[in-house]
Symmetry: C2
């Protein structure tokens, strides 16, 4: 039977054969998460995703959210499933059980999240943001703030958001104008307007807790004067019961290209009455605090984009096997065949397969690295893992969502005319996926982050650590004769990337800084390509091992892994190397062209 | 003031400086179309587009079409503007005045069409299809059919469509099941169901004429047994008045990702009563006849995609000049600047500018070639022009729409979060544009057409003719010292393309046919890249000439042309050459992978 959302065999392959996540259970923290438990968790997540989240995805898209008389109405079917989801304790599955989490490894959480987001990503946004708000409270909140809010957030009883953007402060958060004025009791009166607030107002939960970036009166301009506040929709009494409305007023919702099931709200704080917030973390350190959440959020966004791509691939593959149209080129007289036999369709399917697999490994690896930081006792190792997370974040967000959108577009193409019809599922995936390239820092900003911050971290040591990890996989793969040619290709691209990184790092520090940054995005692309190749090579090694003891029925799967590697090293890396040459030449037209020359 | 839809200066540049279309007026056929007249026509088209078509584009998208009680209701505002459009005699502007056309050169018609389609492409589809149906009648109709239908179609009094697709016959038209049974009076009773019929039913016009592909009872299977019929919605009496309803019943319309303003209908013919059609052209030659229309339609589709891209670029450029966000990297303390100053935004804008310019030239050139076929008296020249049209059609449809979609996506990215909001114009352009990659033959089919049919036409002579045209431009550009380095790069890529074409042609004729076709789409991409580079080099030459006598105010425009060329040869061609290497290596994974290996 056709698989939906994600390829189950591949999910298991990544968890157990590529990353051997069972090993995590050797550590006290994850002792209960042996292979059996991990499989059970993923299975349960899959069941919930397939049986509950997926069936309401289309309804969410079609019905969307509405704004009536100041109220935001989410799709009818969401409330029941949201309660189910929270009863299953999935919202904060990787968090401390003390606060309502399940304490599971992040890498396992990624597998569950893939099914959830692939089934219904607009729905999942409510929980994701709530989790992020909780994380902020856990990381920077006072004991009182934790006692008041944390469990309510992690269990999904209340909602959480993230109030950064204002009409004139998008990518440039430092330009924000929301003001916080200290009250006599130590709280703050908050006043301002925020836009693009996902899940900013709805009635699925009794209260919504808004982390808000604002400037305390008299604080410096720009990002250095921004503080973070917790602003509940309803004030909370000392006994935990809900008090007065806190004047967080929704003034409208956006009509968007996709993610219709999630409401994108404009909120006015303290516009009519009193809006009270409490400082969270230190004064004027709001940006730094929020960045913690932003980094997690960026990884979530990578997951969202990837989940659209994997679901799109599953649909396209199934369609290509079913849809009979046109004869096989080598047997023109035999009549119609399933379109998976046509070379151009196979090209698109194998492109999707290779990228989806490589992205899956990358996304799960981000979780694994996080788990490693938790279980290692070696400070140097811990710092190395954290560095790898830092440098791979722009890839896992920026590169992955760029490619994910392309993969969704391939799926539409495989469907042909039906791909453009909303009755079929891939059109929505394409529309939903498009925002992942924009929010939580546009992919242009991810690229600047890689070139401007991450590349030079610790004088380049972090990037060298990444190179070293890839080299390890190359060395291991070379042990397998069947993989050696592919390993050599990955190694070749890796060496060129290393040289290019040195070159671009220097250029970015020189007077040619603008030229360097003009190629930040292409540089992210080639970095991402090499990371994908690395992951496919790593998978190839795991597949080669698997083949040594495979039962007959498992052989096609393992062989498929080698084919993805063959395809990627043969059809993508040569183009990547062409891009590297191009970047290295650093043509100056982008910087030099006069503004008036863009148009007469 | 900001330009909308298209860059006026650039349109004039292509018409007069690159292609010198005024020269066409030296021929009798186009005697009245001197420069002044051409400019007047384009100006009028622009006015109508900006003042009438553009303002109803959003309404068309939001209101869309509805299907109620068997009737299709198009957006409210369309009827008035459709009548205006037809009063202006724009529907068949390049056709013979005898039949209601204006007889203008195709290249001039392209400029007008760019404005119309850029302003409101879903609206334009009604007229485009009507024109195509008229072209069929003109080309293959009997005198009686012409007298009955042609003027009504070319003047837009009646509508026209194109009934090919059936649920099991999409790309494989030969699989269709609609049947035609000969009546005693020589007409045919038509019976079958068609889907995806643009403008298949609506009430903006009194009658709709459907060219229908069907199989005469007893005719061979596949494409060799298909005939073409004219089936009016209402039968036409001898005096031209409308007679009985002809049982063409709309059974529903599609809910699509884009082009909401155009109704996509399912039609049942002869389901309840009698549906009568008349044969047009020869029995069993329906596919060949329809192909004439298909080729024109493919060029229209290229225009549609391109028009989305050029409008998207205009919006993005305007937005990037207005939107203040973040500091200039070289002046971090100066505060916010328009985002056009940020290198990554400039990269995207220059990418869009270069492609839009190159696509504009390509699309207009297709019109110019058509005009040349009409004015040349040399049979060999005529054949050469026709060959160039043939070989460039997959580029003008397939390559152009692929890139156009990417350009629309860049525009969304430049808008940031606002790009995803339907209140702003670029989201719709992205959604509308997506279908252009699919209909009138998916871009995969365009790629197969290039590699499988066009490359080998006349034993490769047609492809050689294209190479020769490009070489001419290279030679001319080399005369300008400032252009010589760019010319050398274009020449280098052209030589490599020539070698690759030889190689792929041979591979396609060998037992490795599937491998060759697995790279048909990448081959279309590199061919398209070289064609774009050619057009930009040609423009560069025209700009270099322009600079020699330019007034100060014109200099930035001309310099911008050289910058596009600099960018494309420096930032795109190196990647193109990487792709060529990749294609040449013809990795076999795409063909070799077992179907079961796509999934466990």
């Amino acid at each position: 039977m056709a698989q939906v959302i994600s390829e189950r065999r591949d999910v298991e392959f990544v968890l157990h054969e590529q990353f051997e996540v069972g090993n995590l259970s050797k550590n006290d923290r994850f002792a209960e998460f042996n292979k059996k438990t991990v499989d059970m968790i993923v299975n349960e997540a899959r069941n919930l995703a397939v049986k509950e989240l997926l069936p309401i995805n289309k309804e969410g898209d079609e019905q969307g959210c509405t704004f009536e008389a100041g109220k935001v109405i989410v799709p009818d079917s969401f409330k029941r499933v949201y309660d189910l989801f929270n009863e299953g304790e999935w919202l904060a599955m990787t968090e401390d059980p003390e606060w309502g989490g399940q304490g599971m490894p992040h890498v396992v959480g990624q597998a569950a999240a893939e099914y959830f987001n692939g089934a219904n990503y607009p729905f999942m946004m409510y929980g994701n943001l709530t989790h992020g708000a909780g994380k902020l409270v856990e990381s920077f909140g006072t004991d009182e703030q934790k006692a008041t809010y944390l469990k309510k957030l992690y269990t999904g009883e209340w909602g959480g958001t993230m109030l950064l953007t204002e009409p004139c402060a998008g990518s440039d958060v430092g330009a924000l104008e929301t003001v916080a004025t200290k009250n006599a009791d130590g709280t703050y009166a908050i006043s301002g307007s925020k836009i693009f607030i996902s899940g900013g107002e709805h009635e699925m939960v009794d209260n919504i807790i808004h982390p808000v970036l604002a400037r305390i009166e008299g604080a410096p301009a720009g990002t250095r004067g921004i503080s973070l506040f917790l602003v509940p929709k309803y004030l909370v009494n000392d006994d935990g019961s809900l008090g007065a409305f806190n004047d967080v007023v929704c003034t409208g919702i956006e009509h968007k290209m996709g993610i219709h099931g999630n409401c994108t709200c404009s909120l006015t704080l303290g516009g009519k009455g009193q809006c009270v917030g409490t400082l969270i973390g230190e004064e004027n350190k709001g940006m730094a605090h929020m960045f913690l959440m932003m980094n997690e959020a960026r990884l979530h966004v990578g997951m969202q984009g990837f989940a659209c791509a994997t679901a799109a691939y599953m649909y396209a593959l199934d369609y290509a096997k079913q849809r009979v149209q046109g004869a096989n080129l080598t047997k023109p007289k035999d009549g119609g065949v399933p379109i998976i036999q046509h070379p151009d369709v196979r090209r698109q399917l194998l492109t999707m397969k290779a990228y989806v697999e490589a992205m899956r490994s990358t996304i799960y690896y981000m979780g694994l690295l996080r788990d490693y930081t938790h279980v290692t006792e070696d400070a140097e190792d811990k710092a190395r893992y954290e560095g790898l997370i830092e440098i791979l974040t722009p890839v896992a967000k920026g590169y992955v969502t760029d490619r994910a959108f392309e993969m969704c577009s391939h799926a539409v193409q495989v469907y042909g005319g039906y791909g453009f019809i909303e009755e079929y599922p891939v059109a929505q995936l394409l529309r939903d996926c498009r925002i992942t390239m924009i929010y939580e820092g546009t992919n242009g900003i991810q690229a600047m982050d890689l070139m401007g911050r991450k590349l030079g971290m610790k004088k380049g040591k972090v990037f060298m650590d990444l190179m070293a990890e890839i080299s390890k996989t190359v060395a291991e793969a070379k042990e397998f004769p069947a993989l050696a040619p592919f390993a050599a290709k990955v190694e070749g691209s890796l060496m060129k990337l290393g040289e290019l990184a040195m070159h671009m790092g220097k250029t970015a520090m020189s007077e040619k800084v603008l030229s360097a940054f003009a190629y930040a995005h292409p540089f992210l692309e080639v970095t991402g390509d090499v990371v994908m190749a690395w992951m496919l090579l790593w998978r190839g090694t795991a597949a080669a091992k698997g083949l040594e003891k495979a039962k007959k029925k498992d052989i096609p799967f393992y062989e498929g892994q080698i084919k993805s590697l063959d395809f990627f090293t043969g059809c993508v890396l040569p183009v990547t190397e062409g891009k590297m040459e191009m970047i290295k030449a650093t043509n100056s037209a982008i910087v030099d062209i006069a503004e008036e020359s863009f148009i007469c």
